[in-house]
C-alpha cells in the first residue's frame, strides 16, 4: 500500500507529521542516530537576540514519569547562530527547518525574526512565548494574554512565513489564550510547553534545581496536554502541533486522532535517541494495519 504521511500546516508542507520539540534535539549532535532529512520538520533551539548563558546547574531532575528542567534558554544569540550554526545545517538538504524564537520583551521577538528573515533554510517560525517578560516585571509572557497578543502582532508584522505560536499549558483557559494568538495573526499553534513545577530534596531541605522551579515534561503530562489540544481543536479553526509526553507511535497517533496536524517529540529524545524515526515507522505500521492510506484521513476523527 502506498502511504501518504504528508501534512500541511498553514501552507507549510511536511513529509510526515513528526518533528522534534525545541530544545530537546540537535540535528548535528544526533547525526549518527537520526537522519533529520526523514523528519517532518526540525525545530531548532529557541534563540534570543543576545547570547544567554542560561541558569546555573543543576538544570534538570527526574520525577515520576517525567523530568523538570530549567535550562533558562541558554543560546548563542541569533547573530552567532546565523554565522556558525546555519552553515552547518545546510548539509541536511531534505530537512525542513523551523526556527524557534524567544525574547524578553515583545519587541525582541520581532527583532529575532527580522534577523532570521534572510535565512532561506527556515520555512516557518515557532514563537516560544514561555519567557520572562522584562517589561512586566518578569512574569511569564505565555501566561499573559496581553503579552501573547503583543508578541504575536510584533512577529506577524515582520514576516510572511508561517508563524506558529507555542503556548504554555498551565493556564485556566487555553482556548481563550489560543484565540488571542490566532486573532493577533498566528497561523498555527504549538500546544504546549512544559508545566511549572518544583522538586525539593529532603536531605538538604533545598530545591534541587538552582532556579527553584522548572518545567515538567515527559509521559506524566500527556493526558493534560491531550485535553488542551482537544479543547483548542474543538473551539478554533487553527492548525495545532501537539507537544507533550509523546513516547511512542501510539501517543503520537492519539494526538492526531484528537485533531493535531503534527506532533513534536521532546523528552523522549533523551531516552531513546532514535525515537522519532521509530515513531514514523510505527505510524506507518498503524496505517497499514488499519487500512489508512492518507494520514490526513485519520487526523481529527475522534468520535465523542
Amino acid at each position: 500500500m502506498e502511504l501518504d504521511l504528508s501534512v500541511e500546516i498553514a501552507g507549510l508542507k511536511l513529509k510526515n507529521p513528526v518533528m522534534n520539540a525545541s530544545g530537546t534535539y540537535d540535528p548535528l549532535r544526533y547525526e549518527s542516530l537520526v537522519d533529520p532529512n526523514l523528519l517532518g520538520a526540525v525545530v531548532l533551539k529557541s534563540l534570543t537576540l543576545n547570547p544567554r548563558e542560561g541558569n546555573p546547574p543543576p538544570r534538570i531532575v527526574e520525577v515520576a514519569c517525567g523530568i523538570v528542567n530549567s535550562i533558562g534558554i541558554q543560546n548563542e544569540g541569533v547573530e552567532e547562530f546565523i554565522k556558525v550554526k546555519v552553515p552547518l545545517l545546510r548539509k541536511f538538504k531534505e530537512a525542513t527547518f523551523i526556527a524557534s524564537v524567544a525574547g524578553l520583551t515583545p519587541n525582541e521577538f520581532a527583532e529575532v525574526v527580522e534577523a532570521l528573515e534572510g535565512v532561506d533554510i527556515f520555512k516557518a517560525y515557532e514563537i516560544n512565548t514561555s519567557c520572562p517578560n522584562l517589561e512586566k516585571g518578569g512574569v511569564n509572557c505565555a501566561l499573559d494574554e496581553r503579552c501573547i497578543q503583543q508578541v504575536t502582532k510584533a512577529v506577524r508584522g515582520k514576516t510572511n512565513k508561517p508563524v506558529i505560536v507555542k503556548l504554555a499549558p498551565d493556564v485556566t483557559d487555553i482556548v481563550a489564550i489560543a484565540k488571542v494568538a490566532v486573532d493577533a495573526g498566528a497561523d498555527a499553534l504549538t500546544i504546549a510547553n512544559t508545566y511549572r513545577a518544583l522538586v525539593v530534596d529532603l536531605k538538604s531541605r533545598k530545591p534541587i534545581l538552582h532556579n527553584v522551579t522548572g518545567g515538567l515534561s515527559g509521559p506524566a503530562i500527556k493526558p493534560i496536554t491531550l485535553r488542551l489540544v482537544y479543547e483548542v481543536v474543538k473551539a478554533l479553526d487553527v492548525p495545532v502541533i501537539a507537544s507533550g509526553g509523546i513516547t511512542s507511535a501510539n501517543d503520537a497517533l492519539e494526538y492526531l486522532l484528537v485533531g493535531a496536524k503534527a506532533v513534536q517529540i521532546g523528552t523522549m529524545n533523551f531516552v531513546r535517541h532514535d525515537i522519532m524515526i521509530k515513531i514514523i515507522e510505527g505510524i506507518k505500521k498503524f496505517m497499514v494495519d488499519e487500512g489508512i492510506k492518507d494520514i490526513k484521513e485519520f487526523i481529527g476523527t475522534l468520535r465523542t
Binding site: R29, R59, I60, N69, Q74, F270, V271
Partner: protein
C-alpha cells in the same frame, strides 16, 4: 557513538552496594579513558538514562564494564540485572582524558570515582607512564582499591586513604601529592579534591559529573561553569582541566 542493545554478561556485587556490570555490546567504536555511556533503566517511570564511566574494556570480546554504587532507584534496578538480560546502551560519549607518555601520573579518586580513572590508568601504563593511584574512601568496608587486581595491574603504587582514620584529610592528600610531585594528576568529581588541585602547581584534569538529559550535547542540561562560560559536561567534558572550572 552508537545506540545498542547490549546483553548482561555478569553483574558482580563487589561490596554491599557496589556492582561491576559487564555488558556485551559488540563494536562501540574506539573508547577513550574518561568517556562514558548512558544506560536506560526503564523508559516510562524513570525517564532519564543513567550515565556511567567506562570502567574497563575487553576489546576482543566486545565487552565493557561499568562500576557503580547503588544510590537510588536506577542503580538499584541495575544492581538486580541478571546475566543475559538486555540493556540499552548509548556510547561512548564525551571527551576523554589527555594522555601522556612516560610521565608520572597520579590517579586521585574518591569513592566509586575510581571507576572513572581505572581505564585511564590502564592506558597510561601502556604508554609507559608511572601510575600512582591515591584512592580515598569513607571507611575500610567501602574500600574498592586494596583488593582490586585490575587497579593493582596498572598502578606502580596504590595508596588507600580513609575518612575513619582521617588519612583522607585534604592536608594529607596535599602532602602526598607534593611528595610524589606528579607531572599530571587525574581526579573525579569530588569538589574538595578539585579545589585542592586548583591550589597545587600540577597539571590536573577532572572527570566531572552533572545531571544530564540527552548526554549528547543537544539539550544544555549539564552545564558546568568554566572560565569560558558554561560548558556542557556531556559534550565538552566530562573531562576538564581543573583550572578551567569555576566551582
Amino acid at each position: 557513538m552508537k545506540l545498542v542493545e547490549c546483553s548482561v554478561t555478569h553483574n558482580l556485587r563487589v561490596r554491599p552496594e557496589y556492582h561491576i556490570l559487564g555488558l556485551e555490546c559488540g563494536e562501540l567504536g574506539s573508547i577513550e579513558p574518561g568517556q562514558f555511556i548512558t544506560v536506560s533503566v526503564d523508559s516510562v517511570e524513570m525517564v532519564l538514562r543513567r550515565p556511567f564511566s567506562i570502567y574497563r574494556v575487553f576489546e576482543n570480546r566486545g565487552v565493557i564494564e561499568i562500576f557503580f554504587k547503588v544510590v537510588g532507584k536506577g542503580t538499584k534496578a541495575l544492581s538486580e540485572l541478571k546475566e543475559g538480560m538486555a540493556v540499552s546502551v548509548l556510547g561512548p560519549l564525551g571527551k576523554g582524558f589527555p594522555l601522556y607518555e612516560g610521565v608520572t601520573a597520579v590517579l586521585l579518586s574518591r569513592g566509586v570515582g575510581l571507576a572513572s580513572l581505572a581505564l585511564l590508568g590502564d592506558k597510561l601504563k601502556g604508554l609507559k607512564s608511572r601510575v600512582v593511584t591515591i584512592a580515598s574512601f569513607k571507611g575500610r568496608d567501602a574500600d574498592l582499591a586494596s583488593d582490586n587486581e585490575y587497579v593493582k595491574s596498572f598502578s606502580d603504587e596504590v595508596i588507600v586513604l580513609y575518612d575513619e582514620d582521617r588519612s583522607s584529610d585534604v592536608e594529607n592528600v596535599r602532602y602526598l601529592l607534593n611528595k610524589v610531585k606528579p607531572d599530571v594528576v587525574y581526579t573525579c568529581g569530588s569538589k574538595r579534591l578539585v579545589r585542592l588541585l586548583k591550589e597545587l602547581p600540577y597539571e590536573a584534569y577532572v572527570a566531572w559529573e552533572e545531571r544530564m538529559g540527552c548526554a549528547v550535547g543537544a539539550c544544555r542540561s549539564c552545564a558546568v561553569r568554566t572560565v569560558a562560560g558554561y560548558k556542557l559536561t556531556c559534550y565538552d567534558g566530562p573531562v576538564f582541566n581543573v583550572r578551567d572550572l569555576i566551582l
